[in-house]
Each structure stands twice: as C-alpha cells, then as structure tokens.
Symmetry: C2
Subunit: 230 residues, 2 copies
Amino acid sequence: MVKENICNCKDCEKGWPVFKVLGKEELEYLNSNRFEAGFKPGEVIFKQGSPASNVVFLLSGMAKIYMEGQGDRNLIVDIVRPGKMIVGPGIYTDQRNMYTVSALNEVRACFIDSGVIKKMVRQSSAFAEGFITDISYRSEYSLNKLMSMTQKKMPGRVAEILLYLSDSVFESDEFDLFLSRQELADMAGMAKESIVRILKEFSIEGIIDSGCSRLKINDKVKLNMISMNG
Amino acid sequence: MVKENICNCKDCEKGWPVFKVLGKEELEYLNSNRFEAGFKPGEVIFKQGSPASNVVFLLSGMAKIYMEGQGDRNLIVDIVRPGKMIVGPGIYTDQRNMYTVSALNEVRACFIDSGVIKKMVRQSSAFAEGFITDISYRSEYSLNKLMSMTQKKMPGRVAEILLYLSDSVFESDEFDLFLSRQELADMAGMAKESIVRILKEFSIEGIIDSGCSRLKINDKVKLNMISMNG
DNA sequence: GCCTCATGTTGATATTTATCAACGATAAGC
DNA sequence: GCTTATCGTTGATAAATATCAACATGAGGC
C-alpha cells in the first residue's frame, strides 16, 4: 500500500468541483490536512456506526455505499466513482456514519477531516453554498429512491437501476458490471433470485444482453417505459 | 382570511430555532420580507412541481408533506407542526418543489422568500451551519425511512409510524389522529385495507386503543419490538 | 328528518414477492 | 488434481400484500 500522498489539491483532476471556489491558501491548508489510502476489492473504507471523522473522495476505482440492516440484509444506496464527495449527514448530526462504504475494485481514496470541511463551510460562503447544493442533490436522489421503492414493482425498480448505472455511473450503454446479483438485488431492494429472473426476462425480450458480468442495454426506450410504469 | 402579518420575527415563539443566531438587523430584514397566510383543512400550501420560491414555517396548525405518484398513489413523507422549517432540496437544485404540502387542520403559515434564506446562508456562517444541520437531520430521516420501507414488513412499518406520531409529532401516548386511514396508509406505503387490518390486530392484542380518530398507545415496549423486528 | 357521499371495515381472491431446495459452474485453497 | 465455498440459476412453494366487492357508519346538505 502506498503510504504517501501522490496528488495535490491544487491540481487535483479527480477532485470535487466545489473545491474550485477555494483560494490558493485554503487549498494548501486542505492539502496539508489530508491522507490517501489504498483499498482492495471488498475492503471497507468506512463503516456504519463508526465516528464520521472524515469526508472521502475517490481518486481511482469504485465503491458501494450501503446501509446494513438486520441479518445480512443490506440496502445499497449508491455506487460512486471519482469526482463525488462521499459524506453522510452524520458530520452535522451525531458524528456517526449512517452507512458503510466499501471498495468494489482497486481503490485509491483521499480522506479529509470532517472538521476541516466544516471549517471551510464557515470560512467561505461560496463553499458553503456548493456544499449545500451537493447535499441537496443527494436528498432529491434519496427521496426519489424512496418513491420508487415504495411505489414501483420489481421490474420497474430493476429497469430504474439499470438506467441509473448506464446514465450516471458508467456513462455508457454497455459496461462491465462490478456487481454480483446479490448486490444488484441489494440496490433494488429484492431477493437475488428475483433479480435473476427479471434480468432473464429482459434478456428474452431483447431489452438487454446480459452475460455474466457484462451488460448491454439494447432498448433504452423500452427500459424507460418499464421504469416509468412501475 | 387575515391578510396582515400578526407576528414579528424578533419575538416569534413558534419560529425555527436557527433564526436565533441572526442579529437584530437581519431579523428585521427577514421580518420585512415575509408574508403570512391562512389555510383551511385540505388546502394546498405549496404544490409539487411548482417553483420553490418560498420556505414555509407554520405558526399554528399541522400539515402533511407528500410526494404525488401515479394514479392517486401518494407517499406522505412527514407530518409537521410549528417549529420546523418546511423546505425542499429544490431551492438549491432546480428551483422546484419536490413535494406538496397541505393543511391537515386550520393553519396559519409564514412564507419567506427562498432568496432571502439563501442570502442569510451566505451572510452568516452560523446560520449556514444551522441550516445544514437541519437538512442533515432531514437526510437521516429519509435514509432511515428508505431502510424501513424496503426492509420491514407491514406490521413493523405501522408500529414505526405510530411511534413516530407519538414521540415526534404529538408528543403524547394518546392523541387525536388528524389522519384518515388512507393517509396512514400513505405514510406506511401500503393499501388502506391493510392498515385497517393491522390496527385492528394491534387493538385485539391490547397494544393500542384505536377509536375512530382517537388513538392511545398502551404498550410502547411491544410496539417498539414490532417496529425493530420488521 | 332523510338522502348522499366519503370513509371505514370485512371477507374472498389474485398478484407479487420471498423463501426453500436443488444443481451447475466457477474460482480459491491444499 | 481434488475439495470446498461462492455465485448464478431454476422450479416449486409459501408468505406477504394488493385488489375487488360488499356493506356499515357517520357527517353534511337540503
């Protein structure tokens, strides 16, 4: 594992866009208060219930954010790539992580102390506004998810997550799925057997081609219709 | 309908606690940029999809916050009383209301322009921090709700909303329910027939006494167990 | 007072979804 | 190489939940 930091906030390409509003001094302060670490697939980056001491940014790789329920039942809230801030509401409430984040593949991550982020919020109103905007989008996402989960039936929810993966995560109609069937099920809130059947159904209808880990979306229009109509 | 404002931000008892961090001048500015309005039961205070031009505070009465789905299927996100800020993520994203808010009984509400709130966020870092803390609690609430909705079975969800109403809304073990069975169903994400059966079941077991609009919780411990175990 | 409409309630039934069991395939350990 | 564990897949079954239909109940209009 590489111990030293290999990048610098000043010229971080993979960084969070809101950092751009900070001045040179603030970026230097940020840079001197951060740590990088590497993670192997499956390793936990931070754990639900533990102190929310850091905000995390991926420099490379992908991670899943999930809430752990009773008896192995997890709910995957999001799949993240570099460019997104990984932070829970805990840093402004009870100082605890509301969810676990773990690496899906080889990950390099940047840790910034929560206190440093909160300091930036106090110091720069532009940063505060950017921060609020970011968490507002996150809220919209959760509320929409809440709506889908309660009102859509299984095929609608599966169509929705396939579209989400394609549009917002992989940004392509064909991609290598890093996710097992169990993980897809945890995203859509259903049993793994159910998602297997639905993916097969979609395959038979020609909407998708689903090899074991590769997934290709053939008919986005139809998928959208299924997602819409629940 | 009373047209004039009947209270003043400076000595508002029902106000949002975070306003206390503002100075006298800022409170006066706030006070000169707000409007009060009255609503009858059932009337819409603001509507999903419309511009998120205002942040609302109840001065008296209660309201339901709900997302409208397809074909009369609504999801009640929260029940609010005075002291809470009613604001959606929209003021920091696409300027649209993500949900509808409507009066459950006679309501008097205070409207503050979103721009004014955003200005306060920029002007006062303490206000910004209070604002972020508030929406962070809201996020935790949504995420917990997402978890319950996807992982708990109906009795667990019903137990949960009864406890929520008792602990966080009415702050009593016995209260007049302003909500119809349909509305309770919309809170728990189920059919109204289902909630009728579950409430009856709880009644038979002696956990609650449920007259038509009055509800009394007899056995909070048991209700908690049902809520926990899903 | 009576009628009408909305809401609450109940039972029967259909649909959706999870669980269970079995098996094949694939990858890791010895 | 074999063994073991994990994952994906399938069919059968059970459980959870919604829908439908019917009827009761209660409030408001006239």
